[in-house]
Symmetry: C2
DNA sequence: TTTGACCTTCACGCTGGCGTGAACCCCTAC
DNA sequence: GTAGGGGTTCACGCCAGCGTGAAGGTCAAA
């Protein structure tokens, strides 16, 4: 299938699909005319990518661990890949740090707003 | 005083002070040689800017409302400036939205990490 | 006079997943 | 043949507060 069809099938923009390819997350075939030619398995692959993006992984990390994630009807599940747990932990730490920053900012804002 | 002295006095980098000037938050005088020449009141002004930055206001908003904020020994306090309350409310909304996004991301990450 | 510390103005880098033209090619239907 | 709806590869824009050289002037101390 070509790119707009995969875009419709996955709910991901064609631009994003090309971006994923730039980052090494997708490697579609090519037709004689140079058009990208995606397979059915790419639909699943894009679903995996979506799940990992939504979980806060960046494309470089996804590139390393993409094959560790499966997405079936019930949501994503993990295979055992070395260092993946540690990677997820560090992402969780970064998210927690952002949480803390955000709360501090909210606190200062409240202090400003509640000040007479 | 010149820029490095103000930087030491406020704990803000000289680069940041120049940036504030670019954004119209500070307007120091100039010596004959072209050096920036800050006054004592700029120390307080920078403290106000720091408080507002820490509360999530951007430089454009700070530029509009800088004179509405005073910083004394007990922390910042507000003067009545039209639209400032509404501005602070909208900032609070944006922060809350970021919070929500962050929590959703953490939720997805947990789903990934806890999946077998 | 020569360090050396401090100042000045550009102007790119960072973080990063895309949106959005621009300029051009491919294929089908009329 | 031509219009139209795909496709392709660049490559800048975004959001924003600074960090960080680069190239060069100023000034007090030795």
């Amino acid at each position: 299938m070509q790119i707009s069809e995969l875009a419709r099938a996955t709910g991901v923009s064609a631009r994003a699909l090309r971006h994923y390819e730039d980052r090494g997350l997708l490697i579609p075939g090519r037709t004689g005319a140079g058009y990208r030619d995606y397979s059915e398995s790419d639909v699943i692959r894009v679903a995996q990518i979506k799940a990992m993006i939504a979980a806060g992984l960046n494309t470089a990390t996804i590139q390393r661990y993409l094959d560790c994630v499966r997405v079936d009807g019930h949501g994503p599940s993990l295979k055992m890949c070395p260092d993946l747990r540690a990677e997820l932990d560090s992402i969780a730490e970064r998210l927690a740090a952002k949480q803390a920053d955000l709360r501090r900012t909210q606190q200062r804002l409240n202090e400003l707003a509640s000040a007479g």
